[in-house]
């Protein structure tokens, strides 16, 4: 009801320029805002109510990623330095519910769990895991295979099953494709 009212009173915001790869899934009520380019790769799933904000810099999301509901990608407020590189998310990354990602780069196969937060300009290596509610400070550089868990604890994961995990993410996207109705034309 309220959203209807809002839609009728406020003039529709200008759509950000987008570049969608084929076979991606973007839910009808995902929110894409901003003025910079948002490009999303192959087979990536954007859940309903995921928020992508390119007001302060472009957003690039690789293929086979999962961006969950209520997660926020892109800078939430102006960056301190005038030029910003935007947010770059590599392939096979899972951003879980409510996570805020303002990182400069999120490496391949990383997982950002529920309500975790990655600060501005931080660089997350490949196959990292940021545990639920964990925080990466702005500008921090996290090496490959790092696991952030509990209250600021870190360790390096040497299990060596990253290929298996990437496969699992791929399978998850396959299932989600069947479950989430996609409407990319709305954003183009």
């Amino acid at each position: 009801m309220s959203s209807l009212k809002r839609a009728s009173t406020a003039p529709p915001a200008p759509k950000p320029p987008v570049h969608f790869a084929p076979a991606l899934v973007i839910a009808d009520n995902a929110a894409l805002t901003g003025t910079n380019l948002i490009s999303i790769g192959l087979h990536t799933i954007i859940h309903p109510r995921a928020k992508l904000n390119s007001t302060y810099g472009p957003i690039t999301i690789g293929s086979n990623c999962i961006i969950s509901e209520r997660s926020q990608i892109g800078f939430q407020n102006p960056p301190s330095n005038s030029h910003s590189e935007g947010v770059f998310i590599e392939n096979g990354v899972v951003i879980e519910t409510g996570a805020i990602v303002e990182a400069r780069k999120v490496g391949e196969g990383s997982v950002v769990e529920v309500n975790a937060r990655i600060g501005k300009g931080a660089i997350l290596g490949k196959h990292c895991k940021v545990g639920a509610l964990c925080e990466v400070q702005a500008g921090e550089i996290i090496g490959d295979f790092t696991v952030l868990y509990a209250d600021g604890m870190r360790r390096v994961d040497r299990a060596g099953i990253e290929d298996l995990k990437l496969k699992m993410v791929g399978r998850q996207t396959e299932i989600l494709r069947k479950l989430i109705p996609s409407n990319p034309t709305k954003f183009q």
Binding site: K129, G131, V147, Y149, R155, A159, L164
Partner: protein
């Protein structure tokens, strides 16, 4: 600073330490004791007070002693042991023999303490008929939280069940580990093979013992030594009387027989004991130089070093992450609680592990009024601190859980104890709190019995005159069905110590040290005395005042105890 939350702690009467001190002295007549007790003020800041103050939720109530019972004055009895992870009830006999850990497949992550799960190292089969394919290959323990895997310490399992038994046979790195029993067998074989001690103590296999085998070897070695050294028949006892006892007995006997002679005699008789001299006998040489450890530290770095909390979980106190082992889940207990004085059961859980409710649970919440504190006016300072020397009013709300109305008397010292005595005045120290009758009872009672409605009328009248919401001396602030609010006025003390000498209290003159931790918290000791008339027959029904057809026997009851009200922090000016 975190926001201050007002609290009420109740003192359990069992910790009335002044009484016990007097009992030791013994000579005081009863009369004097009484006056002493009346005059004595409970000091919530006394070091011992910490051990007797509890939130109401932590207290039990004994219906036979009519007294509050705290964790210190109840007896715990274990109803059952169980694993919190698989909810398997472990019989007490196996707790005694196997220890207090789950011996099935429940393990904690050595890194982060999350539960570990067993998973196959092979990728799950795909394609047609995948569900019929047998999962082959080895298994590992996985932590889904920090992604630790037993692969990191080189442990892989052959089957997904009975992990405990499997782990007991594998060392970190995958080498097989001899069970203490097997070790013993190997030891005996070795003994038989070469009695002359031809084994080389420097060989690696012998040097490294895990904690369990180490203990087992030492124990069996010294047991043997003891039975060898104290000759059988010295006191008509054989060596198998129990290790240690023949020697001890002969020494004690030596005290009674003619001193020196007997001593020498027994000394001659007993052979000399030697110490363990190799790993098979349980000798473990602690490396004198830490160079090995330092070298390892250099290579593995910070990431490879176990944290203090991780080491604490492990029985063998490892230094490095690669030495950590999965921790078997600690068993938990269900306990019933008895009153220490009369041995009646106060709390008894259902004995089945899966059931969470209680058969008996006499919690104090159902017997004594709860006291809630609320500031009457919104705090003037935005920080929520109490302004010193400025009268502040608080509302104390007593809610009665009993089915009889209760007369409440409350008393406080005029000044709170301690260096900074704040002035405290209770505007209405005497009042009656209505019974905790069912809302429906009241409605039904009105139509049925006239007395009920009359009482109701009287009460509404009283409410009309009393419940005006005025902070007036001798009047209650507000009244409800089973609750009453009264106003207490506090003049917080100034926390300054540099004021003029004549303004200082005696304690301040004696001790002019800086403000100590939590000394700025305003805590008011309150003595609460309850009086009510209980329905004796109804008492048996677990505190429920069931309607009695016979003539009701009313009994006068009284309960008195100290409380501490933490109302807020005083601002430092």
């Amino acid at each position: 600073m975190a926001e201050f939350k007002p609290y009420t702690y109740f003192q359990c009467p069992c910790s009335d330490n002044s009484v016990s001190v007097r009992e030791v002295g013994g000579a005081n007549p009863a009369g004097q004791e009484e006056t002493d007790e009346d005059e004595r003020t409970f000091d919530p800041r006394a070091p011992r007070a910490n051990y007797s103050l509890y939130p109401l939720e932590h207290l039990l109530y004994c219906e036979d002693c009519h007294q509050i019972r705290c964790p210190r004055c109840v007896l715990d009895e274990i109803v059952c042991w169980y694993c919190p992870n698989c909810l398997f009830e472990v019989p007490s006999s196996s707790v005694k023999s196997e220890g207090n850990r789950c011996t099935r497949s429940c393990f904690q992550c050595p890194i982060c303490t999350a539960p570990l799960s067993v998973s196959s190292t092979e990728p799950p089969p795909e394609g047609l008929g995948a569900e019929y394919a047998t999962v082959s290959g080895t298994y590992v323990l996985n932590c889904s939280y920090c992604l630790w895997s037993s692969k990191e310490i080189g442990i892989e399992l052959d089957k997904p069940n009975s992990v405990y038994a499997q782990l007991a046979k594998i060392k970190n790195g995958g080498e097989p580990l001899l069970l203490p029993k097997e070790r013993r067998k190997a030891l005996e074989e070795r003994r038989e093979a070469g009695e002359d001690g031809s084994h080389i103590p420097g060989s690696k296999e012998e040097q490294e013992l895990d904690a369990e085998s180490h203990f087992y070897n030492l124990k069996s070695f010294y047991q043997e030594q003891l039975s060898d050294s104290s000759p059988a028949g010295a006191l008509g006892l054989t060596g198998d009387y129990g290790y240690g006892s023949p020697g001890a007995l002969s020494r004690i006997m030596g005290l009674y027989t003619s001193g020196a002679l007997g001593d020498r005699k027994s000394k001659n008789k007993s052979g000399t004991m030697r110490e363990a001299h190799d790993a098979l006998e349980g000798l473990q040489i602690t490396p004198l130089s830490a160079s090995d450890a330092i070298a390892r530290l250099c290579t593995s770095g910070w990431e490879g070093t176990a944290s203090l909390s991780q080491r604490r979980e492990q029985p063998h106190n490892p230094r490095f992450v690669s030495d950590l082992r999965p921790v078997a889940n600690l068993l938990r207990t269900k306990r019933s609680k008895r009153c220490k004085t009369c041995r009646h059961i106060l709390s008894k859980p259902e004995s089945k592990v899966q059931k969470t409710h209680f058969r008996i649970r006499l919690v104090a919440l159902n017997y004594i009024p709860n006291i809630a504190i609320r500031a009457l006016q919104a705090p003037s300072a935005p920080s929520g601190l109490l302004a010193p020397l400025k009268p502040t009013q608080f509302l104390l709300t007593f809610s009665n859980p009993l089915f009889d109305s209760v007369r409440v008397n409350i008393a406080t010292p005029a000044h709170t104890p301690g260096r900074f005595g704040s002035k405290v005045t209770i505007l209405c120290p005497q009042f009656e709190v209505g019974a905790n009758t069912d809302v429906w009872d009241e409605a039904l009672g009105e139509s049925g019995g006239k007395a009920g409605s009359e009482r109701e009328k009287r009460r509404t009248k009283a409410e009309a005159s009393e419940g005006q919401g005025q902070a007036e001396a001798g009047k209650i602030w507000e009244r409800g069905r089973n609750w009453v609010s009264v106003v207490v006025e506090v003049v917080p003390a100034s926390l300054r110590l540099d004021g003029p000498e004549f303004l200082k209290s005696e304690e301040q003159r004696r001790d002019a040290g800086p403000l100590r931790e939590d000394e700025d918290v305003l805590e008011i000791p309150v003595f609460v005395r309850l009086e009510w008339e209980a329905d004796v027959a109804g008492e048996e029904g677990g505190g429920l005042a069931t309607g009695n057809k016979e003539k009701e026997v009313r009994e006068k009851r009284e309960l008195a105890y100290w409380c501490v009200l933490g109302v807020g922090r005083i601002a430092q000016d």
